[in-house]
Symmetry: C3
Subunit: 336 residues, 3 copies
C-alpha cells in the first residue's frame, strides 16, 4: 500500500496546506465515499457541503471555497482537477509491463521496434511497421504494413491500425478503435455504385486519445488528420479527408462527414452530426445532438437542427412551446 | 430432427390445446413462412388474419383472440411471446460446448476457473481473473487483470473486459463489447487537456445482455453500474460513473453521458442522448432520438429536443406544422 | 514505380485526350496537391479554377467544363469519378496476398475453402464453413459454424460473422463489423425480460460493402437481408428482420429498428433513425439525423423529427425562426 503525508501531496501539486500536514493518506476517493485514510477533491461550493458531512482525511480544494473542513487537512490549489490527476497517478501508477514481444505475436519483415516496446498476445504487425520506444501494443491488435507509431503510446486491445497510418507520440487508443479505414467513396457506374479506391493517409498527432470502438477513415486521395492533444470519446465517426485541429474535444457518438475542417480548440457535444465539406471555426462549441449543415464561425456557439447560434435556437425552442397557446390567441383575435 | 406433439408443447408452456393435440411439429417459423410441420405464434388480431391464410401445424396464441384456425392446432397461452421463447429454446438448444480451454488461449498467473468453463481460441486472460462455472469465453476475447465473471455467462467473440471489471451471473455480451473502458475525463492544464487517470470500477449485474460493439466506461473514481436484468442493444455508449437500475431497456445507439442516474425499469428509445449528471426516474420512458437535458420524473414519458413531456412535444410539433399557415393568418389580421 | 502515358490512361477509361498524349504520369493526387507527374480529376467548375492555378501533369475532366489547362493534358470523360476509380486501381493495385492459410489460424471440421483463399493470423473458422475462391479473411476474424462466404470477398481484420450467416460475392467488410448478432428481442416474464432465442438468418448480397464497427443482427425467426450492391458506412446499426433492398446508400451511424423494409436505391443520411416495422419506399431519400416514425413513399424526400416531406420540414423550420418576432406582432395586434 502506498502512503503519503498531506505535506508530500501538497508539495507535489504546489498546494498550500491548511490543517495537519503530517496526516497520512493511502488512497483517493470521491467525497461521498472517502474515509479518514483518503484524499478527495472539491471543485465547487456544491461539493463543499458534502465535504462538511464527510470524514475524509484530506481534500484538494480551490483557494476561494469556504468550508468547515470537519477535521480534514485541506490542500489549497488553483486547479484541483489538475492536482487530482497528479495525485491519482501517484496512487495508481500505470502498470509497468516488462518490455517484451509475446511469443504468439506475428511480426512481418522489416518491423522496427524502439526500446522498451511491449507487444501482447495475438498481435499482428505487418511488414515495415515502425513502433517507437516505450510503446505498448495490447492483445489482438492489427497493425497494417508500413504504419508508424510514435513513442510511449498505449494501443489498447483489439485495435486496428490500417496500412501506412501515422500515429504520434503518447497517443492512447482505447479498445476497438479503427484507424485508417476505407472511406465511404463511390462513383456511379453502369452497374450501380463502384468503389473509389481509398488511397489517402491517416495522421494522428501527439497526445491524442481516442475512445473505444471509434472509427477514423483514411483520406480518399489526401489525408485524414487529427491534431495534437485532441481528445475523442467512444463510438465517434470521422470520415475521409476530415482535418481536425489541436486541443479539440469530441464527445461520444459524434459523426463528422467527409472533408470537414475543424479548427483548434473546438468542442463537439455528444451525438452531434456535421455535414460534409464545411468548416467549424477555431474555438467553436457545438451542442450535443446538433445537426450542423453550414460553416460555423470561429468562437461560435451553435445548437439545434439545423444548427444555429445557440441563443437563436433557445429563443425558437422556447417560442415553440408557446405555440399551442399562441394559436388560441390568434383564433380569438380573428373572432373579434 | 427434433419432433414434439402439440400436447407436449402445450404442457411445457402451461397452455391449453384447441384441436389435435397429437399433431407433430418439428420447427418454429413466423406465420407467413410456417408450414404444416411448424409451430408459429400470434400475439394480436392483426396477425390472426395471416394465420387464417396459412397452413401452419400449430400456433401459440393468446386466449382472447378469435381466429379460424384453418386446421391448425391452437395452444392458448396468456403470454404467447414468453411461450415462444420456451419453445424456441426447445427446438434450438444452445450449442453444448465441450468444456475446455483452447490450447492457444493465454492465461495469466492465478486465474481461477469454475467447472465446465469453455475458453475459445486466441483468448487472453490476465492474472488473477476469476471465471464462474458454466461460463463461455468466445474467441479473441481479452479479460484484464483481476476481473471477475460470474456463472453461466456467454462472452461473445472479440469482447474486451477491462481490469477489475465485475460481471454477474448469466450475463451475455455480444461481439465487440468493451467493458471498463477509460472514461472521457480531462483536467485543463498548462499544455491543454491532461488525462485524469480513470481508476473506478465497472459492475455489471446478473442476467444483463449487452449488444454488439457497445462501450461501457469504468468509473473515474467511483463505479459505473448496470443493474440486474437490464438489456442494452448495439452501439450504446455508457460513460463513466453512470448508474443504471435493474430491468431497464436501452435501445441501440443511445448515449448516456457521465454520472447519469437511471432508475429501475426505464426505457430509452434508440439514439436518445442523455446529458451528464441528471436523473431519469424509475419507470420513465424516453422516446427515440430524444435529447434529455434535465431530470425526468419517475414514470415520465419524454420526447423531442430538448426533451419535454411527450404530450407537450406532440402539441408543439403539430403546431409547428401549422406555422406557415399561421403566419399567413397573422398577416391578414394585420392588414385589417 | 508505375508509369503510364496520358494516352494509355485515356484508352483505359475511354476518354479523349486534349494536349500531349505522350506525357507520362506516375501517381494520382487531388488537384491542390498534384504535381507535374500526377494525374488529377475535376468534376465541376469550382475545381476547374484550382486546376488553372496548379501544375498538374494530366487531368480527368468532364466534357462540358471549360478550363485553361495551364499545360496539363486533359482526358475528357463522361464520368470523371468512375474514371478516377479505374485509374486509382491501376496505380494502387490491391495487395496480392500469396494464397495461404496462416499456420496460427484455427479451422474446424469440414471447412471448405475455394481456390486462392487467404486466411490471416489468429483467425477462427468454425465447423462447416464454406469460403469461396479468391476470398481474403484478415487477421483476428471469427466465422461461426456453417456460415458461407462467397468469392473474392475481403473480410477485414477483427470481424465477427455469426453461425449460419450467408455472405455473397465480392463483399467487403471493414474492420470490426459484426454480422448475425443476436437481435434485441425479449418477452416479459414473471422475472422481468426473458430472452427470445434469435434463430433467424442474416443474408448479405453481392458487392455489398459494410463500414467499420457496424452491426447487423440476425433475424429473430426470419432473416435479416442486405441487398446487392448496397453500401453501408461506419457504426451503422441494422436490427433483426430488417430487409434492405439493392443499390442503397446508408451513411454512418444510421440506426434501423426491427423489421424495417427499405426499398431499392434508398439513401439514408448520417445518424438518421428509422423506427421499427415501417417501410421506406424505393428511391426515397432521408436526410441526416432525420427521425422516421412512419412509412415513406417511394421517391419521397424526408427530413426532420418527426420526419416529414423535406419542403414541409424546411418551411416549418424557417417559420420557427420567425416565431419570437411573430409573438411580438401578435402582442401588438392584441393591444390594438
Amino acid at each position: 500500500m502506498l502512503i503519503y503525508t498531506v505535506k508530500q501531496l501538497a508539495d507535489l501539486v504546489s498546494g498550500v496546506v491548511e490543517g495537519d500536514g503530517g496526516r497520512q493518506v493511502s488512497g483517493v476517493a470521491p467525497v461521498d465515499r472517502a474515509g479518514p485514510d483518503d484524499v478527495t477533491f472539491v471543485v465547487n461550493e456544491r461539493y463543499a457541503e458534502r465535504l462538511e458531512q464527510s470524514r475524509v482525511g484530506a481534500c484538494l480544494i480551490a483557494p476561494g471555497i469556504r468550508v468547515d473542513a470537519n477535521g480534514a487537512a485541506l490542500i489549497r490549489v488553483d486547479n484541483p482537477e489538475l492536482a487530482l490527476s497528479t495525485v491519482l497517478e501517484l496512487f495508481h501508477p500505470s502498470p509497468q509491463l516488462e518490455p517484451a514481444v509475446h511469443p504468439t505475436a506475428v511480426l512481418g519483415h522489416g518491423v522496427q521496434l524502439g526500446e522498451r516496446v511491449w507487444i501482447g498476445p495475438f498481435v499482428t504487425v505487418q511488414a515495415g511497421v515502425t513502433i517507437g520506444s516505450g510503446t505498448q501494443i495490447w492483445a489482438q491488435c492489427y497493425i497494417g504494413a508500413g504504419a508508424s507509431i510514435g513513442e510511449n503510446c498505449r494501443i489498447g486491445p483489439s485495435c486496428t491500425i490500417g496500412h501506412g497510418v501515422q500515429v504520434g507520440d503518447r497517443v492512447r487508443l482505447n479498445p476497438g478503435v479503427r484507424l485508417g479505414v476505407d472511406g465511404f467513396g463511390y462513383a456511379s457506374g453502369p452497374d450501380g455504385l463502384t468503389k473509389i479506391p481509398q488511397v489517402g493517409g491517416c495522421i494522428i498527432g501527439d497526445d491524442v486519445e481516442i475512445g473505444a470502438n471509434s472509427t477514423i477513415d483514411r483520406g480518399s486521395l489526401g489525408d485524414t488528420i487529427v491534431g495534437d492533444r485532441t481528445k475523442i470519446d467512444n463510438l465517434v465517426h470521422v470520415a475521409h479527408n476530415v482535418v481536425i485541429g489541436s486541443h479539440c474535444v469530441i464527445v461520444a457518438q459524434v459523426g463528422l462527414a467527409g472533408s470537414v475542417h475543424v479548427g483548434d480548440g473546438v468542442q463537439l457535444g455528444g451525438q452531434a452530426g456535421i455535414i460534409g465539406h464545411i468548416t467549424i471555426g477555431a474555438g467553436a462549441r457545438i451542442a450535443g445532438q446538433a445537426g450542423v449543415i453550414g460553416d460555423v464561425p470561429a468562437g461560435g456557439v451553435y445548437s439545434g437542427y439545423p444548427a444555429r447560434p445557440h441563443r437563436q435556437s433557445l429563443r425558437a425552442s422556447a417560442a415553440t412551446l408557446q405555440l399551442p397557446q399562441l394559436l388560441q390567441r390568434l383564433r380569438e383575435l380573428e373572432r373579434k
